[in-house]
């Protein structure tokens, strides 16, 4: 068993403030938009809370952003520029999630601090953190005070457009939360990734996989078939 430090402190702090914030935003958002369905608090309280938590979450985002901007671990959020390599690895990962995992195959992705996400995680997290989350912040900020930002709201097509985008992304995040937590439970053990988000360390089994040179050499070939010229 080896331990790899994959989640640095700023990322862990950001993540759990963010997760708590998002849950609060979803609950208060539901109360604001679908007050007929739930009655946890008054409309006014919900709006107040939603605004305050929203600002905390926006501020918190900059912990995440500045950490990655000034760290060499920024590479975990860099795109794969070679599409062939990207799709090859992505399909391998899908095969693992849909099929290999049921047979107990080893995970084809090996995390290291500079490349910790598998291709599917990488794509999802990039789109979420660098596109969808910022759009949600901007639309939220505009809706917080539509009169102050009247110019920008008009430019974007009016309150209706801004509000629709904000609600659609809200629904997306409500769904994302379930998928995210489910996928996060598919680690070495169901709680492995959750623990890693608290301690920073991911544990990885030294399993003897198909392409493990160690296993091959014990068979006496002295090398690995794929490596032979």
């Amino acid at each position: 068993m080896r331990r790899i430090y994959v989640n640095p402190l700023p990322v862990r702090v950001w993540h759990w403030i963010n997760a708590t914030g998002f849950v609060a935003l979803i609950v208060t958002g539901l109360q604001i938009r679908y007050g007929g369905l739930i009655g946890l608090m008054s409309f006014e309280t919900a709006v107040d809370l939603h605004n305050w938590v929203g600002f905390v979450v926006i501020g918190n985002y900059f912990i995440w952003l500045f950490f990655y901007l000034f760290s060499d671990k920024i590479t975990v959020y860099h795109p794969e520029l070679n599409p062939r390599k990207y799709y090859r690895e992505a399909f391998r990962q899908i095969r693992y999630y849909g099929f290999g995992i049921l047979r107990g195959d080893p995970n084809p992705h090996h995390a290291n601090p500079y490349n910790k996400f598998n291709p599917l995680q990488r794509m999802l997290y990039q789109i979420i953190m660098l596109l969808i989350v910022p759009i949600q912040f901007v639309t939220g900020l505009l809706l917080w005070d539509v009169t102050r930002f009247a110019g920008a709201v008009e430019w974007l097509g009016g309150v209706r457009v801004v509000d629709t985008v904000h609600v659609l992304i809200f629904i997306f995040f409500a769904g994302f939360l379930f998928i995210h937590i489910y996928l996060a439970s598919l680690g070495r053990t169901p709680s492995a990734h959750f623990k890693a988000m608290f301690t920073g360390y991911e544990e990885e089994e030294d399993e003897a996989g198909e392409d493990d040179p160690g296993r091959k050499s014990t068979r006496g070939t002295g090398g690995e078939p794929g490596l032979a010229p």
Binding site: Y68, K85, L130, T221, G223, E224
Partner: protein
Amino acid sequence: MRTAQKVLVIDDDEVVGRSFDRVLSEKGYAVSTALDGEEALEKCGSEEYDVVFTDIKMPGMDGLEVTKRIKAKCPWTPVVIITGYGTAENEAKAKVLGVSGFVQKPLTPEMIEGITAKALLEKAEPAAAQEEEMAGEVISRLPEVEEIEGRLKSVARFVKNVALLIAAPFLGLAYAIAFPFIGLGVAIMLGIRAWRQRSRTV
């Protein structure tokens, strides 16, 4: 935290990269892989590696060309050549480029580990001969020039890192949108191949 030593492995056969990753990750190295020269140089531009391994024969840019370009950018990075058939001519050419060593396929985990440790050691204590060779160059360089160059380099690296970060979600979105089509294409291709094979055996 002590940052891990970074290793880059360039080989068009992805199994080689994966083997290095397996063996070296366990020892606490951070391994990156590239399937061709262009990708490798791209990676070298945004990150500094402690040791680079490269295959010689690859489609596109060959290993010697990659070595030359890496050495031009960062002469201090040790480069180790992975060879299938070490011809004397290739070895001579590689020596001229200042490579740190050669490893011959097929590789064993012990070889991978050993040659990595050796290359890193040489980097830490460059041979006297190498130092002498560089002395002429160092004297002619003013410290201020070096400092400005260093700062320019780190600014360039920062700008590049941020540009890649900004491009990431858009490229990710493009990959996601193209996903079903690529998937369908691959499925059709595999289907045709299986069908052909079947009709050949029938």
